[in-house]
């Protein structure tokens, strides 16, 4: 599989960078991760869960710490289980208590991070884990690429079967309920999916910036989209464009890939704001049409 990809890239792009396997891996990683983040970001914003995903990202540190305590070689599984618990806990607490989501998340989030830092900094050894803060996309292995492909498939399946329910819940839980949607179940599944993806991606993207990757493409798409279809298409395109540009610029400049991608995303975001201001808006024409229609039937 991976050899096929390598030879494809070498024949398509006869450039110096294509000689390195790590670049070919990273390119494939960007092609897999960008749609995941683009798609997920749309509902993260619509559900106002930006702070939630940020919290889960930071709490990955705690997952790592617990993995270290338990003496696991690869802390990913511990991180995933911990993230699922955290996501479930926040979702549950949000429905049970009257406190706003921000407060609930703030309480869980800071505590989890503190716990992680306390454990990891024992005997002054925190520096060993600082790689997780920035992440390294170029370190991705073919096996991890397979994992990413499975994750992308999972997101697409979730979006095919559960998207409408999630969408209704984000608009009004009671309306969703009256349509036979199990609100808590849908919220829980989405939170856990989100937590998994953030946790899996953390080692390549980094704790500090993962949330921007999730939020920026969708936020930019929101400036231009008039309906959900365009929102998704634009979010994925913007995410891919920023991912690819960021990867190559980081190669040229020798900078951290994830952070470079975020900067490009932000430039695109600014671009959508400018475009929105300049473009004659469709929506402005519509009210006039309404008026004409209403006059026709008094």
């Amino acid at each position: 599989m991976i050899e096929l990809w390598y030879s494809l890239i070498e024949s398509l792009f006869p450039f110096p960078w294509a000689e390195f396997d790590f670049m070919k891996n990273a390119l494939l990683a960007v092609l897999l991760v960008s749609p995941i983040f683009g798609i997920l970001g749309t509902m993260v914003i619509n559900n106002r869960m930006a702070f939630f995903s940020d919290a889960v990202g930071h709490a990955a540190l705690t997952g790592i710490a617990i993995g270290v305590l338990l003496g696991c070689g690869d802390p990913l599984w511990v991180m995933l289980i911990f993230a699922a618990f955290l996501a479930g806990g926040i979702t549950w607490a949000r429905r049970r208590t009257k406190a706003s989501a921000d407060t609930v998340i703030g309480v869980f989030f800071a505590t989890a991070v503190a716990l992680g830092v306390v454990i990891l900094s024992r005997q002054g050894g925190f520096n060993r884990y600082s790689g997780y803060l920035i992440g390294d996309l170029l370190s991705i292995t073919p096996g991890e690429l397979g994992l990413l492909a499975v994750v992308l498939l999972g997101v697409i399946l979730f979006w095919l079967f559960l998207f409408n329910r999630l969408f209704l819940v984000s608009l009004n839980p009671a309306v969703a309920r009256s349509r036979g949607v199990n609100v808590f179940q849908v919220e829980l599944l989405f939170s856990i999916l989100l937590a998994f993806i953030v946790t899996i991606s953390i080692q390549w993207v980094g704790i500090l910036i993962i949330n921007s990757l999730l939020v920026l493409p969708a936020a930019a798409a929101r400036n231009l989209a008039e309906n959900m279809q365009r929102y998704h298409v634009l979010a994925v395109i913007i995410s891919l464009a920023a991912g690819l540009t960021g990867l190559f610029l980081s190669y040229q400049w020798g900078t951290a890939t994830g952070a470079t991608i975020v900067l490009i995303s932000f430039v695109l975001y600014l671009g959508t704001i400018a475009w929105k201001a300049v473009r004659p808006r469709q929506a402005r024409r519509v009210p006039e049409m309404d008026a004409v229609k209403l006059n026709q039937k008094p």
Binding site: R48, N164, F167, R179
Partner: protein, 271 residues
């Protein structure tokens, strides 16, 4: 998502029954001992002071918050019993400005399981247009929901809540933020639908004037049912006087006399 039901002939027999409904959240008793029979074709108005549990009652009926007691629906022929099919029209949606959800997106998500992000499903699109047209909202179909005015949004929500035709339609403060013209369209259509589809409607409202004009029955609620009866009966009751003061009673009775509105028994038109 629900199977579509054909509108049935007027029956007078089917009813939705609440028995000793109670809601307790975090140790607070929000509602207790609420028993009501709602016959089809009847519009029940729920009034009460702030914090009386009116919206809580609607949310319990939708199933969004857990409740004790029973809620059952009895079909005219006794064929279908169990939980009623509920249509719910909230006061507003939880959208922020600039959310890219269009009216068509919302209606499609209600009407079918076909994922909205793949674009509108062609087969439900015509039905959605027809539903919206009944409320003079078909021209809004491509607008973002967040850009609609209060009245436009109410009409869109109502159009979606009525497909499939529910056993019980719940309206939460439908008159908030609607101009007089929009109100007339809204209540006019609701009255018409009630007769066409033999709908049971429960409406929570602070607009005592409107509710006295359109409701067949008023329930005065403050954690439990304090009074129930025709608008004139309830608005003249002692307990209503003590909660809302004499001004309202006098005003409503005066207006009703002036407008010559007499409350017909259910089944006859008010118009």
């Amino acid at each position: 998502m629900n199977p579509r039901r054909k509108p049935e002939k007027k029956c007078d027999l089917c009813c939705t029954r609440l028995e000793r409904l109670e809601v307790t959240l975090n140790g607070n008793r929000l509602l207790y001992d609420v028993s009501l029979h709602i016959h089809c074709g009847e519009l029940t108005g729920i009034v009460g002071p702030n914090g009386a549990g009116k919206s809580t009652l609607l949310k319990a009926l939708v199933g969004e918050i857990p409740y004790g007691g029973t809620l059952s629906f009895l079909d005219a022929k006794g064929l279908r019993t169990g939980r009623p099919l509920v249509g719910y029209v909230p006061q507003r949606l939880d959208l922020d400005q600039g959310s890219p959800a269009s009216v068509l997106d919302f209606c499609s998500a209600c009407a079918s399981g076909f994922p909205v992000w793949l674009g509108p499903y062609r087969r439900s699109r015509r039905r959605i247009l027809k539903n919206l047209a009944r409320f003079q909202a078909d021209h809004l179909i491509h607008r973002r929901i967040s850009e609609l005015s209060g009245g436009e949004l109410q009409r869109v929500l109502l159009a979606c809540a009525l497909d499939p035709v529910p056993d019980l339609l719940l309206l939460d403060e439908p008159s908030t933020g609607i101009d007089p013209r929009g109100l007339d369209i809204f209540y006019g259509t609701v009255s018409k639908l009630r007769q066409e589809h033999d709908l049971s409607i429960i409406m929570v409202s602070h607009d005592l004037d409107m509710i006295s004009r359109y409701a067949d029955r008023i329930v005065l609620l403050d954690k439990t049912i304090l009074a129930t009866g025709t608008p004139a009966e309830v608005f003249q009751s002692q307990i209503f006087l003590s909660l809302f003061g004499p001004r309202w009673t006098a005003e409503i009775c005066h207006r009703q006399e002036a407008a010559g509105i007499i409350h017909h028994p259910r089944g006859q038109s008010n118009d």
